[in-house]
Homo-oligomer: 213 residues x 2
């Protein structure tokens, strides 16, 4: 390999996949950029639909299982507090998030990655700390306005075939990359599933693959 | 509450549930006693059958799902190395572990908790670092002998109705306690599922429930 490829690899962005209805995505969304920055990396955010991935992978969310549900609801809140974050379990959960995700990709294309990430934070924080129902078009439009977006344009975007197709393509690309859950990070080809892989991601960024014992 | 109850709570043992065929149980089994000791606690180990719990909870192991399987096999090894442990993915996986678990409970009753824990370590290490098939009665009997047990007595124990019933009762008790996976720790009534909750367990032991942000 040419001498430049090591450098290129070192500067490759971290791929970060999230769903607006995923509590663990919310938690990871609050640290992923800082973790990357500590190691001179950037993050490429991807809004995806967990429901589509679950269907392809024959999986269900943890709250779909009787015994796991109670634990999961407890662990969402506890893990957020452990990470120093506010958390309030939304009453309606999980919810369909295709509208919020299409707004993400519309912003990504029309205003750039940072604008899309700002919307991701706005949506995740609104849902997981204030219970704003992102699947309610009135609430979502209001949130778009509060977040400094053109609310009517956002509403037009989530109903637009162009962003429907874009989100569909992004879900398919995620599946092709092996993504089956969220948050899901890919660092130099290595996949890390879950907000609880933060320490592993940090060490991987610092020193690469863990040594075989 | 009387003044003594705080002290009693502080000294209550950590409940630790594991399955001999669970890679994440193997990882946690290597740190749980040290974590407890750092906080003046002891650990009460419970050998259980994940298959029984999964059936009751309508769950399947991660390797039963097409997309999750590849990730899981990678994460088992990576997480072991991250924890500083040797790991070799067994060829036959997962396996039925009722024989090894019955030996655990037989030892627990006849020789005490420490002897049962020594057997747990012997079984988990043999399976996850040397590929010793714990579901193979010849290999299991040999392992019992190597581990300083009376191999014939161990073989008699795993075929004995008494230890079959004991394991059944322990599985039922685990289910009643809300256990649906392994490793599963209960600290003063608070459940922690997974080897990746070590940091949360440490903080909980040090300072109790995490403060609401």
């Amino acid at each position: 390999m040419p001498a430049s490829s090591g450098l290129a690899r070192q500067h490759a962005p971290i791929q970060f996949y999230f769903d607006f209805s995923s509590p663990y995505s919310y938690i990871a969304s609050e640290w992923i950029d800082a973790v990357a920055a500590r190691h001179g990396r950037r993050v490429q955010w991807h809004a995806i639909l967990l429901g589509v991935l679950f269907q392809a992978a024959e999986l269900k969310p943890p709250v779909a299982y009787p015994l796991k549900r109670d634990y999961a609801l407890r662990d969402f809140e506890r893990s957020a507090h452990f990470a120093g974050l506010p958390y309030r379990q939304p009453g309606a959960f999980p919810i369909a998030t295709q509208h919020a995700a299409r707004v993400f990709w519309w912003l990504h294309e029309s205003q750039g990655h940072d604008a899309a990430v700002a919307w991701a934070h706005a949506g995740l924080r609104a849902y997981f700390t204030r219970g704003v129902a992102l699947n309610d078009v009135v609430a979502l439009k209001a949130l778009a306005g509060e977040s400094g977006l053109d609310a009517a344009a956002a509403e037009a975007a989530w109903g637009d075939e162009r962003w429907k197709q874009r989100l569909k393509a992004e879900n398919e690309a995620a599946l092709a990359a092996g993504v089956f859950g969220a948050p899901y990070c890919i660092v130099d080809g290595e996949p890390f599933w879950g907000q609880d892989r933060q320490a592993q991601i940090e060490r991987w960024l610092a020193s690469g693959p863990f040594k075989r014992v």
